[in-house]
C-alpha cells in the first residue's frame, strides 16, 4: 500500500493552482489538436514541447500529458460527427458512432464515447498506480544486457504484431536507428555519417521527424483525399448525458474487456489503434446485438473507445518504469524527460518521486477534467471542424514550421521537417509503419549504449543475452516475436495441408 501513500503525496503536488491551470490548458489544447486534421497527439506534443522548457518538469509533464488525454478524447468527436477519424485509433469508433449521429443520436454516441474513454483510461491509471512501482523496483536490478533485451523485445513486437509487411517494418525501424546514429558518437567521440557537414553534427532530432512525418505528411494525405467536412450537429445537454449514463452500465462486460485489451496492447507496443479494432471485433463476436453492429450500436462505440484510451494511457507504464515508450506520443514525452534532464527508467521512481507521482495523480484528475471539458464544449470544437480545409491547412503548416524551428532555433530544421513530411506521405501510402521509425529514432542512442555496455561486459560474446533466465527469456521471446510472421505462415500452411491440401489460403 506504499503506492497509495505516494499517490496522496502526488495529489499534494497538484494542489498548486498553476498546475491545475496547466492541466485545463493542456486538455483544451489536446482536444483541439485531436479535432484538427494534421495535428495529432504525437506532433501536437512535439510542437508544444519547446514551450515547456522554461517550466518546472512537473508542470510541463502535467500539461503535455493532458494534451495527450485531450487528443485521445478529441478523436472521438470527429469520428462521431463527421465520420472522419481525427486520430487513427478512433477509426473503429466511426463504425457505429457515425450511424448513431445520422439517426440523430449524436449526443448519446458522444456521451458514450467520452464516458467509455474515461473508463478505459481510469482502469489503465489504476494499473499504472499499482504496477509501476513494482516493475520499477524489479527493473532496478537490470543490467545493460537486460535493458537491451527489453528494448529488443519492444522492437521485435512491432514485427510480430504489426499488420504491415515485416520487411517494411524492419526497413522503417532500421532507418530510425540509422538516423539516430548520425552525428557525434558519445562513446568514442567519432563523427558518424556527417559527411563533413556541420549541420549534420547535431544529428536528427526526433521532434523534427515527428512534426514532419505526422504533421505535414497528414496534411498532404488529407489534401489528397479532397475532404469536405460535412458533419452532423451535436446537441449535448444534461438530460442526454444522464439518460446515456443510465444505459451504459449494461455494457460493463464490453467495457472491462476493452480495457483489458487496451492495457495489454498499450504496455506491449501494439498501440491504441490495433487495440481499438481488436476490442471492436471481440465485442461484435460476443454481443447479443451482433446484427446491429455497424448501424449505430452503443456497444460498438463503447468497445473501441475503452480500448483506445486504456492503451493510450497504459503506454506510459513502460515509459516511466523502463524508459521504453509504448506509443509514438509516449516516445515524444520520453524525449521531453530527457530534455528536462530526467533519465526515464526505474531510477525515476527513486530519485524523482515528486515528479512521478505528480504525473500519476494528474492522470486521475486530468481524465476527470477531460471528461468535463469535452462534455461541455463539444459544440465549440465541432464548429472548428466546419472551418474549411483551405484555411486550416496553411495555418497548420505554419504552426508545424514554428514548432520545428523552436526545437533548436535552426532554420535547417524547418527544411528537414518538409522532407520528413514528404517521406511520411510516401511511407503512409506504401504502408511503411511510422511508429517503429520514431521509436527507433528516440531509443536509438539508448539501445546502442546498452548493447555496447553489455558487449563490453562480455567482451563481445553474444552469450551474455542468455546468461540468466530473465534476460534469456526476454531475448527468446523477442526472437519469437521477430520470426512470428514466418512461424505463423508455416503453421497456416501446415494447417491447410491437413485440411485436405487445398491451396485456397492467400499468401500475404
Amino acid at each position: 500500500m506504499e503506492a497509495l501513500g505516494s499517490l496522496i503525496h502526488g495529489f499534494g503536488v497538484l494542489a498548486d493552482p498553476m498546475n491545475i491551470a496547466y492541466m485545463f490548458i493542456g486538455i483544451t489544447l489536446g482536444v483541439l489538436i485531436g479535432v484538427l486534421p494534421g495535428l495529432g497527439g504525437a506532433n501536437g506534443v512535439a510542437i508544444l514541447l519547446p514551450l515547456t522548457f522554461s517550466m518546472s518538469p512537473t508542470s510541463a509533464i502535467i500539461m503535455l500529458s493532458c494534451i495527450y488525454w485531450g487528443a485521445l478524447f478529441g478523436g472521438a468527436i470527429t469520428s462521431v460527427l463527421f465520420n472522419i477519424p481525427g486520430e487513427p485509433w478512433s477509426v473503429a469508433t466511426t463504425f457505429d458512432g457515425h450511424p448513431m449521429a445520422q439517426k440523430g443520436h449524436a449526443g448519446e454516441a458522444l456521451t458514450a464515447a467520452f464516458t467509455s474513454s474515461f473508463f478505459g483510461a481510469f482502469v489503465a491509471v489504476l494499473l499504472i498506480t499499482f504496477l509501476a512501482p513494482v516493475i520499477a523496483g524489479f527493473a532496478l536490478r537490470f543490467g545493460p544486457a537486460e535493458f537491451f533485451a527489453v528494448q529488443l523485445l519492444t522492437f521485435c513486437s512491432f514485427v510480430g504484431m504489426g499488420s504491415e509487411s515485416p520487411f517494411k517494418v524492419l526497413s522503417a525501424m532500421m532507418l530510425g536507428f540509422a538516423l539516430a546514429a548520425v552525428g557525434l558518437d558519445s562513446v568514442t567521440g567519432e563523427l558518424r555519417m556527417t559527411f563533413g557537414s556541420v549541420e549534420l553534427l547535431r544529428g536528427f532530432d526526433f521532434l523534427i521527424a515527428v512534426i514532419g512525418l505526422f504533421g505535414i505528411g497528414e496534411i498532404l494525405l488529407t489534401m489528397e483525399e479532397g475532404l469536405a467536412f460535412k458533419g452532423k450537429s451535436a446537441k449535448i445537454n444534461a438530460k442526454v448525458v444522464w439518460e446515456t449514463w443510465k444505459s451504459l452500465p449494461r455494457y460493463w462486460v464490453t467495457a472491462i474487456r476493452g480495457s483489458i485489451v487496451g492495457c495489454w496492447m498499450g504496455i506491449t507496443p501494439g498501440g491504441a489503434t490495433p487495440a481499438s479494432f481488436m476490442s471492436y471485433g471481440l465485442a461484435k463476436r460476443f454481443s447479443r446485438n451482433r446484427q446491429n453492429f455497424g448501424n449505430g450500436e452503443v456497444e460498438g462505440v463503447v468497445a473501441p473507445e475503452t480500448a483506445a484510451h486504456a492503451a493510450g494511457t497504459s503506454a506510459l507504464l513502460p515509459m516511466l518504469t523502463l524508459g521504453i515508450p509504448g506509443s509514438p506520443t509516449a516516445a515524444v514525452l520520453l524525449g521531453g524527460l530527457l530534455i528536462w534532464g530526467l533519465q526515464p527508467g526505474p531510477l525515476l521512481f527513486v530519485e524523482q518521486k515528486e515528479f512521478v507521482w505528480g504525473l500519476i495523480a494528474s492522470m486521475y484528475l486530468g481524465n476527470i477534467a477531460g471528461l468535463i471539458v469535452v462534455l461541455t464544449t463539444v459544440p465549440v470544437f465541432a464548429s472548428i471542424l466546419r472551418i474549411p480545409f483551405s484555411i486550416i491547412a496553411p495555418v497548420i503548416v505554419v504552426i508545424c514550421a514554428v514548432g520545428a524551428y523552436t526545437v533548436h532555433n535552426a532554420f535547417l530544421d524547418i527544411v528537414m521537417m518538409l522532407v520528413f513530411g514528404v517521406v511520411g506521405y510516401v511511407f503512409k501510402k506504401l504502408s511503411y509503419p511510422l511508429a517503429p521509425l520514431v521509436l527507433a529514432l528516440v531509443l536509438g542512442d539508448m539501445a546502442e549504449s546498452s548493447f555496447r555496455q553489455a558487449m563490453l561486459v562480455s567482451q563481445g560474446d553474444l552469450a551474455i543475452f542468455w546468461s540468466n533466465p530473465l534476460v534469456g527469456g526476454i531475448v527468446t521471446l523477442a526472437l519469437a516475436m521477430l520470426f512470428w510472421p514466418l512461424i505463423s505462415t508455416l503453421l497456416r500452411k501446415r494447417q491447410s495441408r491437413q485440411d485436405g491440401g487445398t491451396h485456397a489460403i492467400p499468401v500475404k
Binding site: 519547446p50 514551450l51 522554461s54 509487411s165 515485416p166 520487411f167 517494411k168 524492419l170 526497413s171 532500421m174 532507418l175 536507428f177 540509422a178 546514429a181 558518437d185 562513446v187 568514442t188 567519432e190 563523427l191 558518424r192 555519417m193 559527411f195 505535414i216 496534411i219 498532404l220 489534401m223 489528397e224 479532397g226 474549411p388 483551405s390 484555411i391 491547412a393 496553411p394 495555418v395 503548416v397 505554419v398 504552426i399 514550421a401 514554428v402 524551428y405 523552436t406 532555433n409 532554420f411 524547418i414 527544411v415 518538409l418 513530411g421 514528404v422 506521405y425 510516401v426 511511407f427 501510402k429 506504401l430 511503411y432 546502442e448 548493447f451 555496447r452 558487449m455 563490453l456 563481445g460
Partner: protein, 168 residues
C-alpha cells in the same frame, strides 16, 4: 477506382513506387554500412568501435529492403493500382509547392511575414476567398503567434527586415 476520366489517370503505379522506395532504402543502407566500415565496425582497444552497431543496422536494412524489392519485382499485382492519381497529385502539390516557397521565404523575410503571405496566397488560390475573409485570418494568426512566442514565452522565432524596422 477507375472512372474512365482523365483525372483518375495514375501518375505512378504502386509497384513502381514500391520498387523505387525499396531501392532508396537499399541505397541508404549501403551508405550507412560504408560509413560504419570507415569509422570501424569491429572491436577496438577499448570495446566496440563507433561503427559496430550502425553496421548491423545497415545490414538489416539492406536485407529487408532487398526482400521488399524482390517481392515487388516478382509480383505484378501492384501494377494496376495507382500510387497517386493525376488529380490527387495536383491537390498534393497545391499544398506542397506553396509550403516549400513559404519555408524558403522564411529564410529571407522571417517567419511572421512569410506566414501572412503564405496563408493569404493559399486562401486566395485554393479556397477562392474574398479579400475581406483572407485579411483577418492571414494577419491574425501570425499576430497571435508573435504575441505568444516573442512576448509571452520569450522564444525568438526567425525574423526578417520588417520586424527589425519595428525594433525586434
Amino acid at each position: 477506382m477507375e472512372h474512365g476520366t482523365q483525372n483518375n489517370d495514375p501518375v505512378v503505379s504502386n509497384r513502381t513506387m514500391e520498387i523505387v522506395v525499396a531501392g532508396l532504402f537499399a541505397l541508404v543502407a549501403l551508405v550507412v554500412m560504408a560509413d560504419s566500415i570507415r569509422v570501424g565496425n569491429g572491436w577496438g582497444a577499448d570495446g566496440p568501435k563507433a561503427g559496430y552497431f550502425p553496421f548491423y543496422v545497415g545490414l538489416i536494412m539492406l536485407v529487408s529492403s532487398l526482400a521488399t524489392l524482390a517481392v515487388n519485382i516478382l509480383r505484378h499485382s501492384g501494377e494496376r493500382t495507382a500510387f497517386v492519381e493525376k488529380q490527387q497529385l495536383g491537390l498534393v502539390l497545391q499544398v506542397l509547392v506553396p509550403s516549400v516557397v513559404f519555408v524558403i521565404l522564411t529564410g529571407f523575410l522571417g517567419i511572421y511575414l512569410s506566414a501572412v503571405l503564405f496563408i493569404a496566397f493559399f486562401m486566395h488560390w485554393v479556397g477562392k476567398y474574398p479579400v475581406r475573409t483572407i485579411l483577418p485570418v492571414a494577419i491574425l494568426v501570425p499576430a497571435v503567434l508573435f504575441v505568444m512566442f516573442e512576448i509571452w514565452f520569450l522564444v525568438p522565432l526567425p525574423k526578417g527586415p520588417v520586424e527589425a524596422m519595428f525594433g525586434f
